[in-house]
């Protein structure tokens, strides 16, 4: 197995399948994790992993040998995730607040179901709540939020990538943050202060 990514890429370009295999071994987990965050679905994430490596393989000739292979692959994976999300029918973010209310009500029900402040402070529960909140995001909200929060993409870049108007991209992020805030408020505020972050405004 080649010691470095650069060596593996050089061999893979020459038709060495084992060298490419070593790149898959080294990077497939990271690609999956990114894809799962972006798509929120294990099946979609697996498809993105496949498509990412397939595209990388086809484009190996274009890879600059001085560049970082992981970074290059990461970019391809983001694009594959975006392509998959865009290929699905979606509505641009609605602004009637109905799903936010439903989301808030669901969180309240969970709270009443026995999550004491002490229990809620446990990190595993924090993670469960974040994960649950993530599942409450629409595909576009999730993708926009992930690109902004974890990938550091600007709203302009996100709107172009996702094929949304700038305002729609912005509102997808706002709504995602609101859902996160509703879900996580018990962990970050006094119970008495639970409710709107800006209730007094």
């Amino acid at each position: 197995m080649p010691q470095t990514d650069a060596a593996a890429v050089a061999l893979a370009r020459g038709g060495d399948s084992e060298a490419f295999h070593s790149l898959v071994d080294r990077h497939s987990r990271a690609v999956y994790r990114l894809a799962y965050r972006m798509t929120g679905s294990p099946h979609d994430a697996e498809d993105v992993v496949q498509e990412t490596f397939l595209r990388a393989y086809k484009q190996l000739g274009r890879f600059e040998s001085r560049a970082n292979f992981g970074t290059w692959l990461h970019r391809i994976a983001v694009n594959c995730s975006i392509d998959l999300i865009r290929s699905r029918p979606h509505r641009e973010t609605a602004h009637d607040g109905t799903d936010l209310e439903q989301f808030g009500a669901a969180v309240e029900r969970n709270d009443r179901a026995g999550a004491s402040p002490e229990r809620l402070m446990m990190s595993t529960e924090v993670h469960e709540r974040i994960a649950a909140a993530m599942t409450g995001l629409s595909a576009m909200e999730r993708a926009a939020f992930m690109l902004r929060h974890f990938e550091g993409r600007s709203i302009n870049e996100i709107s172009q990538s996702l094929g949304l108007k700038t305002n729609a991209a912005k509102h997808s992020i706002f709504r995602a943050v609101r859902k996160m805030r509703i879900a996580l408020e018990p962990f970050v505020a006094e119970p008495a202060a639970r409710g709107s972050l800006i209730a007094d405004h």
């Binding site: 038709g15 060495d16 399948s17 490419f20 295999h21 898959v24 071994d25 497939s28 987990r29 999956y32 994790r33 799962y36 294990p42 697996e46 992993v49 496949q50 490596f53 397939l54 393989y57 086809k58 990190s123 924090v126 993670h127 974040i130 994960a131 993530m134 902004r148 929060h149 600007s154 709203i155 912005k170 992020i173 706002f174 943050v177 609101r178 996160m180 805030r181 996580l184 408020e185 962990f187 970050v188 505020a189 972050l197 800006i198 007094d200 405004h201």
Partner: protein, 254 residues
């Protein structure tokens, strides 16, 4: 963006992500320094975001890389070919690939369950379809035999999987081609079955050389739970029926 006194949440989100222009950002900082309510709101927002940052990565099973490679390899070989591809691919499979390209779109589109066209005129397409049906039928039979072997394997300690792995690996490539053809032709049920079969084949191809009796029980349970063997048998029967319908009647040329 703001009311008379305070910033709304959206504005604070933009500030948090550095999306405000320099002037608005400076104005926001000044306001936050002097407004306790907004400062508290912003601090809560920061804590929410910090909590989001603690989300751990998803846990992947051991052997994830093996499964990924087992699924990926056939596509890589097809996409442009490792140099050894044409050497390693069985001739019948290469032929099947060529045939698939020729008849894709014409084969699966409802024909397996539909009424055959007139059998008294044999076109070149029908000839190719016959060959493809024979290939697909053989593939399903081989898959069926493998499933039967797995379901009926003796439960006696550690099982040597090396032969099954090879069998599964051989079947994955062909299965993928048939699945993609079904997908492109909109034959959803066939595609779903082949997809299900492929997932099992991929896992088997990527399995270790030996499986414990517990692992084998899991494999059997997976086959049983999804009725996979039964579904493969049904599809295989449908293919054979179609083959019979395609056969020229006595006295007809083919």
């Amino acid at each position: 963006m703001t009311d008379l006194k305070h910033f709304d949440e959206d504005h604070l989100v933009l500030h948090f992500y550095g999306e405000l222009d320099a002037g608005a950002a400076a104005q926001t900082e000044t306001h936050l320094a002097s407004c306790g309510d907004c400062r508290a709101s912003y601090a809560r927002l920061q804590r929410v975001m910090a909590a989001v940052d603690t989300l751990p990565d998803s846990v992947l099973p051991e052997g994830f890389e093996r499964v990924t490679w087992a699924r990926l390899q056939p596509s890589l070989q097809r996409s442009s070919g490792w140099r050894s591809w044409f050497v390693r691919v069985p001739g019948s499979l290469a032929l099947a690939s060529a045939i698939l390209i020729l008849v894709a779109g014409a084969f699966f589109a409802g024909r397996l369950s539909g009424t055959p066209e007139r059998a008294d005129i044999v076109t070149a397409d029908q000839m190719r379809e016959r060959v493809l049906l024979a290939d697909l039928g053989e593939h399903l039979d081989r898959s069926q035999m493998m499933l039967v072997d797995l379901v009926s394997a003796e439960d006696g300690g550690v099982l040597d999987m090396s032969a099954e792995r090879r069998r599964a690996g051989d079947l994955v490539t062909a299965n993928r081609l048939y699945r993609q053809t079904a997908d492109e032709s909109g034959e959803v049920r066939v595609r779903e079955l082949l997809d299900e079969l492929e997932r099992l084949l991929v896992d088997l191809a990527a399995s270790p050389d030996t499986l414990s009796s517990e692992d084998m029980a899991n494999v059997r349970a997976r086959i049983d739970a999804n009725g996979l063997l039964f579904k493969v048998r049904v599809l295989s029967t449908a293919v054979r029926e179609r083959q019979k319908q395609m056969r020229p009647r006595a006295g007809q040329s083919s």
